[in-house]
Symmetry: D2
Subunit: 181 residues, 4 copies
């Protein structure tokens, strides 16, 4: 029913709010909620990023990983990693944010291009197996997003405990979820 | 983990927006979302009832039934069934609403008392088997409500189709969901 | 530029939140902000009445009197004075509210008809001399309303003190503003 | 009653959305509403700047001039003039914005220091004579702001027409209000 193709790897220049690289493979066993945004995109600031924070506050970190993807496709000289760091600090965003790798030849960065995102904000949901299950440009409402995430959690509620345990054994210090306060 | 006791029967004086009585038995096979309210309760008008409408707009009627329960425990002479009908009309609420049966001896009506509701607004979630699974006084947020409803839907996604079919055979005209526009 | 005709007298069946009748004459010297509403009108409940409360909280009672006018033109059996009292209690509305006098021959009550109001919510602004200066159906924004009220206050800032004093001499107990907490 | 001291001159590094420098002297005859902000200040983005836009939409440009003051006192390398230009473009802010002159020795820029602003957002109201009449840190509500601006307009409604005429004679092309669409 849904697209079960393996999605493209994320191409990330730098991870903020995380002391190690993050990939779909490293999050295997969790539902992954990725919010693609630009720091100067009004709809991202007023809707998408607050919603990502509510996702993180609503679901257990053992079930759901929340990530940001900073996909700059305009005003590249204004939305630098230095500016993004100040932005994350001022808006108190503590989940990991990957800086989408710039393209050598185009305005649209590499991960954004690989997923054919229409713009920002965009929301991407991956299941526990790392398959892309939902991709939405714009402003989906909280009830729909909450329901879609829970549907993915419930597909395999038993298996999650095992993956979770394995993941914790391999880690020390900060989790892929980031170094939250 | 959750309370699996059979919940009390609803004691209803009159159903609005439905041409037949509704019970948990008649909704077997669907997740039931019941919003207990008073028409002059500010939190119900600003939060609970709009949220109930969003539940109805978000989920398929083959999975989820949305109901109101008008549980008047104060200002009984102001919140009569006649006034409630005008209220439902003005606020364009089209899901079925049961008028909680007044008590002969107390201010609190019978269904509200049987479920020991703390006040209004209160939200009650029943699973496909008619078991009460969540009961919340106050203002739960949309993301949490969306997730909790989907968790109940996903407990038995296969069985639902059968129940749905049986239910439709037994009915004619309006569904228990009401006579929506 | 503005209509300077003397406006129609208010025809009031009963005043709530006031122990004495209120008229434009009794409020001479103050800017009068009258909010015409129906207790089951969604736009009144969500916009107009909260705005009237903000007017009352923003301006000095020596400059501005805030009043409600309950102009029922539909669902007359639901929006009775008894129901209105419960409504004012539940929504904690403490400014004086006049029940617009029903018409013997029409659905629209008498004051509403005399002012040719288009519906509810409607806002009416009277200057310190009791002249009608602005009448607006719908949802004017707070900034505009704040500016329009201040324009009327500033037309005669000096005269206000005198009128105020006279008014207080004539009164005892509750003011025309009502018996606020 | 109010402070009638001549306020400090604005020290501006660069004006955006204006093809000429702007000063209190050049705006003589108009009420001036200045919103001091930082582009990465959440309260400025969600409250102060939208409010400044509402001020501009509510009042006549012959009575009121709306200006921004970008007073960066933190994250200087993120909130550069280049980044500010992208921000103004994305948020569709078309009123003139002055970049507060950085201090050689302190984090707080020069105009912010001269006015002893407590932070951002801050709102400053100047009367038609260029006197500072109100200065507020934080989030004043729309009704209060609308009333305070109208009070300053009404202090000298007659004089305004003359000033306005003189001002227009001296200008060509864009007005100090900016080059609005």
């Amino acid at each position: 029913m849904q697209d079960q193709q393996k999605p493209p790897e994320w191409q990330i220049q730098e991870w903020l709010n995380s002391d190690q690289p993050i990939s779909l493979a490293s999050l295997r066993g969790k539902v992954v909620v990725m919010h693609a945004f630009q720091m100067l995109c009004p709809g991202c600031v007023s809707h998408g990023l607050p919603q990502a924070q509510r996702v993180r506050a609503t679901f257990s970190t053992s079930d759901v990983a929340v990530l940001g993807l900073h996909s700059v496709f305009e005003h590249h000289d204004a939305m630098t990693p230095v500016a993004l760091k100040a932005f994350l600090h001022e808006y108190r965003l503590t989940f990991p944010v990957g800086v989408d790798m710039p393209s050598a030849s185009a305005a649209v960065p590499q991960t954004m291009a690989a997923y054919r995102l229409q713009g920002t904000p965009s929301l991407l949901l991956f299941d526990r197996e790392g398959m892309l299950r939902w991709q939405q440009f714009g402003r989906p409402d909280d009830m729909t997003v909450g329901a879609k995430i829970m549907a993915l959690i419930m597909e395999n509620p038993a298996g999650q405990g095992v993956e979770d345990k394995k993941e914790q054994e391999e880690q020390s210090g900060c989790t892929p979820e980031g170094c939250a306060i």
